[in-house]
Subunit: 479 residues, 2 copies
């Protein structure tokens, strides 16, 4: 296992007092809401960024905002690190704990509190899964737009923490664009409400600040989100190209023309083969790159938009254009795409990068990515949200070979630097976590990081919330 | 003139050193960029919230980020208050200075720095007017979406400070949804870049935080904004109703059905009469309330959406439905709406409220607003962004009658409290400024305000940036 990324050294005073702390927490939570036996702690030692793991000494699973507040108040008083956790699906290690930490799991807070169709909002507890929101309003013709591939498992609290995206965010925006309010437990246990059902809010946009702050500014216990009416119809269309460069250039031209479909997903040849073998989605196997472009609306609207897109694709020598013929086929096409990470996991270990680039740089960055991975003697599969410029190269390697793992990590870092240098950024939707923490200096000047840390200090001066994440460990006092 | 709102007492040390400060500033700026003669300072003593005025002792008009940084560095060293100013079109008094302040005007920074159509972005200096951005890319088929009624005059820097909206924000979002990056001069003169051309950004969303922070976190000197492709067609349609309540209920039902036109603007009978007399837009005069609903897209799309809207309007006994027949007519319809404030100013003094409510409360709040204004023996005209729930009651009064002015202010405050109590908030797009500052406690608990002030302190611990605004004066040390 690669160990290039370090964690903060555990606080000796906390480690020494572990038993007492557990006993104190047992006064605040019923037995079924507190885990401290090493065997039972094991599921919490890592998340979907499985290259790293640390065993926490306790997991609190509160059932209410009041219980979260009680745990925070206690941990704040004694300077005990707290690592919030939703479903543990973070791809950047955002939920990986540390030895001196209490994991604060929100999984028991899984109730939908209010569905307000008149105002098109849903208010849910943080542990409600992303998909559950859409399922709850589907019969009424609505859905919640951001749709990470992990939407069956990931929770809205984690989505807020990471400002999660998904395939359909090209049109509907990411979490921050669909979030109207949160209930936030501050580090000292104070509870505040940010935002609400009405547009905007007076004063500073703390709601926007909290979204994507990776659990470092407080614990989100409830979220109010925007519901969107389902379109009249939706149709994914497959566009096959000879090369990744042609497909990338086509995406750039579609967006530059001001055409915004619901989704433009990209797969290169390895990704097509991996996903097709798993999902039998009917992807063409004779092309070098595939775009899944979804249009929606009335038949006339879909036809209109498709016509313009096909014209642009032709200028890029599109080889195959295939409209799906049925809802079943459409579902299969999306199943293939959404299971890309799982399907890749069947054939190799992988790390998934999450860089974002301006669309004009897409073809260039694809070409360079391939050169970087070649240089390390590894393989890559690209499957990502092309319309947003949000790239996900999956670097394939053998996790049992430490040398291979180190190479994969080095290649990943090179790719992220490439994205930043091309005018992009380190992360589109997976967050910084521990994975990209040490690359933050490549994106930001010291003054930028200092200002962010100064904001962090305005919420958590003792630095107890998810402490090893986001900021390089050696700059902690810069704020 | 009403004087219900107080300002911070001027700092005696700054007042005593005014001449020296001006002399020092003259070392940093050329003579044409520094104003200090009382006669020349007069245009800067108020903004579009004309009920209050204070004379600053100097106005700096820097031409570059470096000059802004030099002024900030100097003012920071000596604790001199700085009030940033764009075009001075603030309706909440956001740009009103104070006697001990240097006004930092961005009007000379009016260059468009970069138009990048491939990535659909424009980067402009803070003093560029809102409309100038759209004009610069119009020939290429693009526009910048947020469109405050003052868009001919107001600047992008002010738009960022106030998170400005506009009629077409129902579909395209307000400033924060269309802003990709800013260059920000911090209080001590440090320059940082937030955001950029790519989606999202690693670390905290300081860009979102700065948007709407009313010049209190730093001075925005450049902004990168999203450009949007012009629709194939656009068509404003007039819907006349017998009563405001029916029109309000129709808006709520359209949005609840998940139909999002580009704009839904509302005018009550007084507003219709005022605007029609001014612009001769052809508004029907035999109705009690009017909606301007704009649809856009292909002819088929527009027809589809209109059909659904007309059906809902019929259920609310719509009296008139009139589609405009030409581009000239469409332009007139919008001219009438956008000149509403100016046209009202011809017949009376007014203050314009900016509360936002959940749409389900629209009819109720309209009815109550009318009762409140009646109670004070005043008149009101309602003209606002109904689709967003962003209300703009214009309270008419006689500014030469102090009693009348006090009544208008009291009625305004009652209306804003009503909006908050109905689940809404104090401001949709005009900002808190000084106007709503003392009502912030009605919206927020002390802990909420304390957290905002704590964030402010992370940027401006000496509290020199736009100091009399946003937060009640007596809670300044709560953070």
């Amino acid at each position: 296992m690669a160990e290039a990324i370090s964690f903060l050294a555990p606080r000796a005073d906390v480690l020494a007092r572990r038993r007492e702390i557990v006993a104190d927490l047992a006064d605040l939570l019923p037995p079924e809401c507190l885990i401290h036996e090493p065997r039972e702690l094991m599921p919490f030692e890592t998340d979907a960024f499985i290259s790293y793991r640390r065993m926490p000494f306790a997991v609190a699973l509160p059932r209410s905002t009041a219980e979260v507040a009680a745990v925070m108040k206690y941990c704040h008083r004694y300077g005990i690190p707290v690592v919030p956790r939703g479903a543990g699906t973070s791809l950047s290690g955002g939920a990986i704990p540390q030895e001196d930490a209490v994991v604060l799991g929100l999984s028991k807070m899984n109730r939908i509190l209010d569905i307000d169709l008149a105002n098109r909002t849903a208010t849910v507890q943080a542990g409600v899964t992303n998909l559950h929101i859409s399922e709850s309003v589907s019969a009424d013709g609505f859905f919640y737009a951001p749709d990470p591939s992990s939407q069956l498992a990931c929770t809205i609290g984690g989505n807020v923490g990471m400002n999660s995206g998904g395939a359909h965010c090209l049109r509907y925006g990411v979490t921050t664009n669909n979030l109207l309010g949160v209930k936030l437990v501050l580090t000292d246990g104070t509870v505040i409400d940010l935002g609400g059902k009405a547009l905007d809010a007076a004063g500073y946009d703390l709601l926007g600040l909290v979204c994507g702050s990776e659990g470092q500014l407080g614990i989100v216990t409830e979220a109010t989100v925007r519901l969107i009416a389902k379109p009249e119809g939706a149709r994914p269309v497959l566009f096959g190209f000879d090369t990744s460069e042609e497909a990338g250039a086509c995406v750039a031209d579609v967006i530059a023309a001001g055409i915004i479909p619901v989704a433009i997903e990209f797969m290169d040849k390895p990704a097509i083969e991996i996903c097709e073998a798993f999902a039998h989605a009917g992807y063409p196997l004779d092309v070098g790159a595939l775009l899944i472009i979804e249009v929606e609306g009335s038949e006339a609207e879909m036809d209109d938009m498709l016509k313009s897109i096909v014209e642009i694709a032709r200028a890029h020598k599109v080889k195959t254009v295939r409209e799906c013929q049925s809802a079943t086929e459409a579902a299969l096409i999306w199943k293939g795409r959404k299971s890309a990470f799982g399907a890749t996991g069947r054939i190799a270990d992988y790390i998934c990068m999450d860089g974002t680039v301006p669309l004009s740089q897409l073809s260039y960055v694809l070409k360079k990515t391939s050169e970087i991975v070649d240089h390390y003697g590894l393989r890559v599969a690209n499957v990502f949200h092309a319309g947003d410029g949000n790239m996900h190269p999956l670097i394939l390697f053998n996790a049992n070979d430490p040398e291979d793992a180190a190479k994969a990590e080095a290649a990943g870092n090179d790719i992220l630097r490439l994205c930043v240098d091309a005018g992009g950024c380190l992360t589109g939707e997976h967050g910084v976590g521990i994975e990209k923490r040490d690359l933050m200096r490549h994106q930001y000047a010291e003054v930028d990081l200092a200002q962010m840390m100064s904001v962090r200090a305005a919420f958590d001066p003792a630095w107890i919330l998810n402490p090893s994440k986001v900021f390089p460990l050696d700059g902690r006092n810069a704020g």
